[in-house]
Amino acid sequence: MQPNEWSLALAMFLVVALSAKGAITKGVVSVTGAEMD
């Protein structure tokens, strides 16, 4: 089974440290428009 694949453009970067497990831990979404409220 193929994993879902997303492309991640590295505009910002990069924490080097040890980690025991993997996860998407933070997000920032920048939006424009009245509906965002």
């Binding site: 993997g22 998407i24 997000g27 920048s30 428009g33």
Partner: protein, 158 residues
């Protein structure tokens, strides 16, 4: 948008911060910052599906400038591509430099820095970057992301 993020079962509601640029126009830029609940991973597919279920998938001029995420995982450098694998999840990220970001002359791109760090034996624990495809008017972005998800599903049969 803020409410849609808050409804995600893997997002810590108390972590959500919302900032909008000053002014009175309807189409001002704003940012919503959020974090996963302790021990959870934010499911991008579910987030995308939830946004598509709102009126943002219909006719609107509002849009998304970017979605930036921090992923903890294992970086695997192949001959042709660099992947970030989320351990225990069937999810991986193809890493590449942002084609719109112009590195300063003489400085290495983030991807080159990543490869250098790995070559020196450093352990990469997390990568922060912008997810490709999350830029543009919401209806167009959601339609194209749905098409991409369908293509992934098509090729994911055992």
């Amino acid at each position: 948008m803020r409410d849609t993020i808050a409804r995600q079962s893997d997002v810590d509601k108390r972590s959500i911060k919302y900032e909008v640029e000053p002014g009175s126009g309807e189409y001002r830029n704003g940012t919503i910052t959020f974090a996963a609940k302790k021990g959870k991973s934010i499911d991008l597919q579910k987030l995308q599906d939830s946004i598509r279920a709102t009126r943002l998938s219909e006719n609107t001029r509002s849009g998304v400038n970017y979605l930036e995420i921090t992923v903890e995982g294992e970086v695997v450098v192949g001959e042709k591509e660099t992947l970030l694998k989320v351990r225990g999840k069937e999810q991986q990220f193809l890493l590449g430099d942002d084609p719109n970001a112009k590195p300063e002359q003489g400085k290495k791109t983030p991807c080159q820095r990543l490869k250098d760090a790995l070559a020196k034996g450093k352990k990469i624990a997390s990568v922060t970057g912008r997810v490709q495809g999350w830029s543009g008017r919401w209806p167009v972005v959601l339609r194209e992301l749905a098409g991409k998800a369908a293509r992934n599903t098509k090729y994911s049969s055992p």
